[in-house]
């Protein structure tokens, strides 16, 4: 924390907090959190990374999907304290300063999104898939993304977007 001061409540609240340190998109960040605070809420409200959306609160929709030590998890069903000492990647970490990740390009190129609400979670799930399987079939993509709901696109263009990204990633891997 670098702020000169932080306002505190005049009626002190006796809530136990725990210090957590998490590597978020390559940067070590720390926060004092209530043990019940959800990881999704720490990312969104605590760290201001609002690209991770919450859709259903019950681990079904996948809008909150982030990579936890490289594996896709639904951050609405994980406590922030469970992430202490771990590595978290969010949608904000996909693009470098100068260029988009091929998955981002693929989603735009193949019209893989409409309202954009499911998109960050979809892209993170797709990233995990392509890191494990650089040349997936359409069925493998559909299965890998079956934990993420989209209400707009009908998925067909999302599948094409992931295939587009897979092609580009394989080409650049030479």
């Amino acid at each position: 924390m670098t702020s000169l001061y932080e306002e505190v409540s005049v009626t002190p609240v006796d809530v136990p907090v725990r210090r957590v340190t998490i590597t978020v998109n390559g940067e070590r960040r720390a926060a004092d959190v209530e043990p019940r605070l959800l990881l999704a809420h720490l990312l969104r409200q605590g760290f201001g990374l609002t690209g991770t959306h919450t859709g259903c609160d019950t681990t079904n929709c996948g809008a909150c999907t982030v990579l936890f030590d490289g594996r896709p998890v639904k951050s609405c069903t994980m406590l922030a304290v469970q992430a202490d000492g771990h590595d978290v990647q969010t949608v904000e970490g996909l693009a470098s300063a100068s260029e988009l990740h091929p998955i981002q390009e693929g989603f735009k190129e193949e019209h893989g999104l409409q309202c954009g609400y499911c998109t960050p979670g979809m892209m993170m799930a797709a990233k995990a898939l392509l890191e494990e399987n650089p040349d997936p079939s359409e069925d493998e993509i559909r299965w890998a993304l079956s934990g993420n709901l989209c209400r707009c696109t009908g998925y067909q263009n999302i599948v094409k977007a992931v295939l587009w990204a897979a092609d580009k990633l394989r080409a650049s891997a030479g």
């Binding site: 409540s9 009626t11 609240v13 209530e34 019940r36 605070l37 969104r44 409200q45 990374l49 609002t50 690209g51 991770t52 959306h53 919450t54 859709g55 259903c56 609160d57 019950t58 079904n60 929709c61 809008a63 969010t90 949608v91 904000e92 996909l94 693009a95 988009l100 981002q104 989603f107 735009k108 190129e109 019209h111 999104l113 409409q114 309202c115 954009g116 609400y117 499911c118 998109t119 960050p120 892209m123 993509i141 559909r142 299965w143 993304l145 079956s146 934990g147 993420n148 709901l149 989209c150 209400r151 707009c152 696109t153 009908g154 998925y155 067909q156 263009n157 999302i158 599948v159």
Partner: protein, 794 residues
């Protein structure tokens, strides 16, 4: 010299979407992403019971929790005259319950606190003493003698009836049935469904006492209607209300109504003088906000032996929940239900409709459709198949024989709509050719011999999209026009604002394409803004596929106004009279000297630096567009399925979609809309419904119980197009966003019925869950979707 329209991102270009640039970076700006200084958080306590009298509400324990700033109940709302609010259908709806709760999930109290966790804790500390009352879960129960009265708050409401309504020609229809060779009948239920955008509803109300201004960030598809409603309900001056609808995580009709949470957050901000954020959780969204459908449809068709349809009778019984808050823009009580059979040349038709109150959530919305059109077209296409079966006719031929013919437009339907264009037979041909109809029938025959159940289902329909016109369509008296404002800057760049509100349809991309088409300004040079009532011109918002038919037309018209002024400027720059100036895309030139010309950018520069004497400087304008008619796209959807008789599971083998939505502005986006719509059609046909147990408990209150298809279940789609331009739309476009949701379900259901009809099955109500299909396939009986009713009255 000539500008290539596709290269500048004009009409017909599959231009990649501008809005994607922020969404793929996680830089969208949805309501829950907005953080205001000093913001408090609101949580709503909801009723666990479907029907109960409130004996008392004890909020004292909630106040004791540190960080709680305000606790509101219905009685406190009543002191501000805000315990009840008007609905969009001229009924009233409780904001916070005072006397009774009338559905499970109804708003009972609200807590405003320093953070959302504290607010949730405090809601749990509120003690409500309920006296349970008998519960009504379907409209037939509501009609029964001695049924408990749900709306005892209303005067002159002796029973649970919302309305009786009729349309059409009863006598002519009776005559048609008297002359019929064959009468075909069908009865079905279109189940309650929830639009369920991934993003739930929410608002941030920010009342500034020093200026008197109320700013509300809100998940709304219609910000200007909300501003008008807030002005009327909260009695605040309209110029002191600013509604901002930022990025929306889907809408599908769910974000049209005014919800109690919005109203409570506004009062909470006024009382606390702090911004108050309310973000509904998914369960709150599913159990309390606008559902779609929930209609029982009965009907019969009078037929001649040779296959001609002579007349149609329909009766609908609709379940409106506890408050009649249908978000619909027509004067017709059951919406556009009577658009049914519009693509068929039918001499007579008559429809009666009854609406009932029940102890279920209110807020009937047009879930990805024009109001009640989905039910209408589903019934139409199920009825058409049943009639073809009864006559022993081929289902494609039966449709073709009864279609309105290409040279019969404009055509007045039996229910009084005026359809204006279409090539129905051609669409059907394209679809049959694509699916390989003849071959499939042979394959089906062969498969049946081996005990395999294959089926093919067709759904063909035209539907009315794009309300107004304003003579017939309004919301709370506000006419259904729409608007666009275009400001062309000095250097030829521009900003366009409309009264519509995108929720994923891609307006930021496509509106710029219309301007590019009309003015030759590259689409990339035009920024599009919507959703802020302080800056956007007054409009009615986006639903019912009305953006392109109405706001899109306004965009073309305002660009034409700009071009008309630019022409005068061009004449001045070219030193010729205006009559000697010709236009080609992006450029004015002298008719006799085509090489002498000025670009639209030259004109915009001159508009601010070198206007002719007597002309107002600047290059800005606004257009309000009141469409002369609805637009009538046509669609032919054909599905093939295989049913497993042992499990009742059915797989979609192929799904072919032929859509004629007139001229396509951005083909990529149009296809995206169609695929999204087909998926919702598949969802409703296969799994997606909200039901209630006999006690009024909502079954389907979260995504574990309310099933939505994932990428795994969703079939692939094959898209085809036919183009019949809309004769009255400035760029020939028709609506498209909802066509597949409206027309699609019948294709899937007809296909499953086709697979099992030889076993004696005539109807299985949606969704076609495996247990329902299994039961039908193994007993030969129909399966009804009627919800369970208690026989042991509590």
């Amino acid at each position: 010299m000539t500008i290539d329209e596709i290269k500048i991102g004009g009409m017909g270009a599959s231009r990649r979407r501008v809005e994607d640039n922020r969404f793929i970076r996680g830089r969208g700006n949805y309501v829950d992403d907005v953080v205001l200084p000093g913001m408090l958080h609101m949580e709503i306590l909801r009723s666990p019971l479907a029907h109960a009298r409130i004996r008392s509400i004890d909020v004292s324990k909630a106040w004791e929790i540190p960080g709680v700033r305000l606790v509101l109940t219905g009685d406190m709302m009543a002191t501000r005259n805000l315990a009840w609010m008007p609905t969009l259908s001229y009924d009233t709806q409780a904001v916070l319950a005072t006397d009774k709760v009338r559905f499970q999930g109804q708003e009972v109290a609200a807590v405003i606190a320093d953070d959302p966790y504290i607010a949730k804790d405090a809601c749990e500390a509120i003690v409500v003493d309920y006296e349970p009352l008998p519960v009504i879960v379907n409209p037939m129960q509501a009609m029964a003698d001695g049924a408990p009265l749900i709306r005892d708050d209303k005067e002159n409401q002796p029973d649970n009836k919302v309305f009786d309504w009729e349309v059409g020609d009863r006598a002519a229809t009776d005559q048609a049935f008297a002359e019929a060779d064959v009468v075909s009948k069908l009865e079905l239920h279109y189940p309650r469904s929830h639009p369920s955008p991934l993003e739930p509803c929410g608002s941030i109300a920010d009342f500034d006492r020093s200026t008197g201004k109320l700013t509300v960030y809100m998940t709304t598809q219609a910000p200007h209607i909300i501003r008008a409603a807030v002005a009327l309900v909260a009695e605040l001056p309209e110029h002191m209300i600013r509604i901002i609808s930022p990025d929306l995580g889907g809408g599908f009709g769910n974000k049209v109504p005014v919800y109690p949470g919005y109203v409570i957050s506004i009062l909470a901000s006024i009382l606390t003088e702090r911004p108050v954020k309310w973000i509904e959780d998914k369960t709150g969204n599913l159990i309390s906000t606008g559902f779609g459908r929930d209609v029982y449809l009965q009907g019969e068709m009078a037929l001649r032996k040779d296959g001609r349809i002579l007349g149609v009778r329909m009766h609908t019984i609709s379940d409106h929940g506890a408050f009649f808050s249908d978000a619909q823009p027509s004067k017709f009580k059951i919406g556009l239900m009577h658009s049914a059979f519009a693509c068929y040349d039918i001499p007579s038709a008559h429809l009666t409709a009854t609406g009932m109150y029940t102890n279920k959530a209110p807020g009937g919305v047009a879930y990805r459709c024009s109001f009640r059109v989905t039910e209408a077209m589903f019934f139409q296409e199920r009825m058409v198949q049943a009639a073809a079966d009864d006559l022993g006719m081929d289902q494609a031929e039966f449709r073709r024989m009864n279609f309105v013919r290409d040279d019969d437009f404009p055509h007045r339907t039996a229910f009084g709509f005026l359809t204006d264009s279409g090539q129905y037979g051609k669409c059907l041909d394209v679809g049959l050719e694509a699916i390989g109809y003849e071959q499939f029938l042979k394959d089906q025959e062969e498969a049946r011999k081996k005990g395999r159940l294959l089926g093919i289902g067709i759904s063909t329909m035209t539907e009315p999209l794009g309300a107004g016109n304003s003579r017939e369509y309004d919301i709370l008296g506000i006419k259904m026009f729409d608007s666009a404002e275009l400001r062309v800057h000095m250097t030829g760049k521009a900003i366009l604002r409309t009264g519509a509100k995108t929720q994923g349809q891609g307006h930021e991309t496509t509106w710029a394409q219309i301007v590019a088409h009309e003015l030759g300004i590259p689409a990339d040079d035009i920024v599009v803004e919507e959703g802020d009532t302080d800056t956007a011109p007054f409009g009615m918002g986006t639903y019912a596929s009305r953006s392109t038919p109405v706001a899109g037309a306004a965009v073309a018209m305002v660009a034409r106004k700009i071009r008309a002024k630019a022409r005068k400027i061009a004449a001045h720059l070219l030193e010729v009279s205006e009559e000697d100036v010709e236009w080609e895309l992006g450029r004015f030139y002298v008719r006799s000297q085509p090489d002498r010309g000025v670009s639209i950018q030259d004109c915009s520069m001159a508009a601010y630096s070198n206007v002719p004497d007597g002309m107002e400087p600047g290059l800005e304008n606004t257009a309000y567009y009141d469409p002369p008619n609805l637009t009538w796209p046509f669609a032919c959807y054909i599905a093939t399925v295989e049913v497993d008789p042992e499990t009742g599971v059915w797989d979609v083998l192929r799904m072919v979609a032929v859509d004629d939505c007139g001229v396509r502005i951005n083909p990529m986006i149009v296809e995206g809309q169609i695929m999204g719509g087909l998926t919702e059609a598949y969802a409703m046909a296969s799994m997606q419904f909200i039901t209630f147990d006999a006690d009024g408990n909502c079954v389907g209150s979260n995504y574990m119980d309310y099933l939505l298809p994932t990428a795994w279940e969703t079939p692939g789609f094959e898209l085809h197009e036919v183009v019949t331009p809309c004769p009255h739309h400035p760029i020939g476009a028709k609506g498209i966003g909802e066509c597949a949701t409206v027309g699609g379900p019948a294709a899937f259901v007809n296909a499953v019925m086709d697979a099992v009809k030889h076993l004696g099955v005539r109807n299985i109500d949606m969704p076609l869950l495996p247990d329902r299909v299994h039961q039908a396939a193994n007993t030969g009986n129909d399966v009804s979707g009627m919800p369970p009713v208690r026989t042991d009255a509590p």
